[in-house]
């Protein structure tokens, strides 16, 4: 068994091998590897008795289950109207400058990915962003710098 197979097997043991287990398993894979690889999808297909195309079709439906490799820390900046009104563009510019990547890209050291997302449910405290599962609100260029520096110092 490859490393991927072991990882998937553990998730199957945890969530089951029925079709209903598919989304939790995909999320489990994403949490560990920060994307859903083709090997992972094949392994899931094998364990759940689905086709690989079937698993791919389900993964690509969800915005948070990237099938392309992402960095260790995935930043998702809200681009919906209220955050947009509260200057999300400035936030994005700051991030692009600090990380030296454009939205949609991943840093060369694979540490950060920068993406847009839709309404995060913090409209009264926008602009807002997620870094992996953590939410940050009332963003300013200064607070962004602090936040990113903190993540840069994490392994």
């Amino acid at each position: 068994m490859t490393k991927t197979d072991t990882m998937v097997k553990e998730l199957v043991d945890k969530y089951g091998n029925k079709r209903e287990s598919l989304l939790p398993i995909l999320q489990g894979v994403y949490d560990i590897e920060h994307f859903v690889s083709d090997e992972a999808m094949v392994s899931i297909a094998r364990n759940l008795d689905l086709s690989s195309a079937d698993v791919y079709g389900k993964s690509t439906f969800y915005s948070f289950l990237d099938t392309v490799p992402r960095g260790k820390f995935v930043i998702r900046v809200c681009k919906t109207i209220v955050c947009d009104m509260h200057d999300k563009n400035q936030i994005v510019d700051t991030l692009e400058n600090i990380l030296k990547i454009k939205v949609g890209e991943t840093t060369l050291n694979r540490k950060f990915s920068l993406l847009y997302t839709n309404c995060l449910g913090w409209c009264h405290k926008g602009p807002a962003m997620l870094v992996n599962d953590d939410v940050y609100t009332n963003l300013t260029p200064e607070s962004i710098r602090e936040i990113i520096t903190d993540y840069k110092n994490r392994d």
Partner: protein, 393 residues
């Protein structure tokens, strides 16, 4: 009228009776009595679709089958809406109590909270609450087990049948209705899918009784409602207000003095221009107040510095991405509306093309497979009709 703006902590407050005490009281009554109270109360779904909650519970209770489910729809994704997050953070016991009462009434033994992936940070907190809830169920001899099911970034999964498909391991695409989830829901079994706030409100009916509940709000729109207020306002946040509020009152309370428009009900809702504030009240459509607007409670305020073209374009960008893509009018319609207004703005298309696009939204409204495609017409037509010059110049 002024009284209606007082903070009524019906939903978010603390009361002498704890939610689990409310549940205990309810569990001593006959299920059919709880259902008839709920129907009598006139409580309608708080997610935006507004179906009579009591009827939904009644159908599920009457459906054949020994395996039934209660699902709490916490896939809150409507732009400008954040009330469900607050409820789950501040008063999760009320949600669980509502689920427990529903389980008792319908005979469901398993419940799920479908939580949007963007709220994953709430999971540890919810799991602690669920553990305590289970202890209470055990004490009350209610055989009901709840777990969290996490979404992964798909607004359309807020539609109840798309949510069920997502839970079953399919793409979150809405299903054909009929059959309805109350007969054929999760894994083909009778299922009640209710919004977070609806479950809390159902529990409120049990707490304060039908008559008190009906005193809140207006005919056809009973109860109080959480409003998520954001945008150009000095007081963004969550407010627990009664239905029947006029937009004029609302703007006087929450506007920044320069309010041009209010978007009621999110990107799927209506944009009301200043000249219509007086004549518009918040509530479900009914005989009494002709212009009442349905709403999940999202209120986004725009002042005169905002370009309504940008606002509309932002909504259309949202819809063309979040559409599941299955049905023709929504998948292609949303794209056409976006490139259409861009072309008119650029001058590549005459302003008359806006009429063609308005006609398209009429088609989308009556042919789209689910509420997402059907509702795009709301914001599109209300913005284009009321702010036409901004689309062109």
């Amino acid at each position: 009228m002024q009284e209606r703006l007082k903070r009524l902590d019906v939903i978010l407050g603390i009361h002498p009776e704890s939610p689990y005490q409310v549940m205990e009281k309810a569990l001593k009554r006959a299920p059919k009595d709880i259902i008839s109270d709920l129907i009598d109360s006139g409580l309608k779904g708080r997610g935006g679709a507004g179906f009579l909650t009591g009827l939904k519970w009644k159908f599920a209770a009457a459906a054949e089958g020994d395996e039934k489910f209660v699902v709490c729809n916490a896939d809150e994704g409507e732009p400008g809406t954040f009330k469900d997050r607050e409820i789950l953070t501040i008063v999760p016991k009320k949600v669980l109590a509502g689920m427990g009462i529903c389980a008792y009434v319908t005979g469901a033994k398993k419940g799920y909270i479908y939580l949007r992936g963007e709220y994953k940070y709430l999971v540890p907190h919810l799991e602690r609450e669920i553990a305590e809830f289970h202890k209470n169920c055990f004490k009350l001899e209610l055989d009901f087990n709840v777990e969290v099911f996490l979404g992964s970034g798909a607004y359309v999964c807020g539609e109840e049948t798309a949510l069920l498909n997502s839970m079953e391991g399919f793409r979150g695409e809405p299903r054909n209705k009929p059959p309805f989830p109350t007969n054929n829901g999760y894994l083909g079994k009778p299922t009640v899918v209710n919004n977070v706030e609806t479950l809390v409100s159902a529990q409120v009916v049990s707490r304060i009784g039908v008559e008190e509940f009906k005193k809140l709000g207006i005919q056809d729109s009973h109860g109080s409602k959480l409003f998520s207020v954001s945008g150009d306002t000095p007081r963004p946040g969550i407010y627990d207000l009664e239905f029947g509020l006029s937009l004029d009152e609302f703007v006087r309370e929450f506007g920044d003095g320069d309010t041009k428009a209010v978007q009621v009900g999110g990107a799927s809702g209506f944009c009301v221009p200043r000249k219509k504030f007086q004549s518009t009240t918040i509530g479900f459509p009914g005989g009494l107040t002709g212009d009442s607007l349905p709403t999940g409670g999202s209120m986004m305020i725009f002042n005169s510095s905002r370009s309504m073209y940008n606002v509309l374009r932002n909504y259309l960008d949202f819809f063309e991405e979040e559409s599941c893509g299955q049905c023709t009018p929504c998948r292609i319609g949303c794209q056409q509306l976006k490139v259409g207004i861009e072309a008119v703005k650029r001058g590549d298309k005459d302003p008359e093309y806006l009429q063609q696009l308005l006609k398209l939204t009429d088609t989308m409204k009556i042919t789209a497979k689910c509420g997402l495609g059907q509702s795009v017409a709301n914001s599109f037509s209300s913005i284009v009709d009321n702010f036409r010059e901004e689309m062109i110049y």
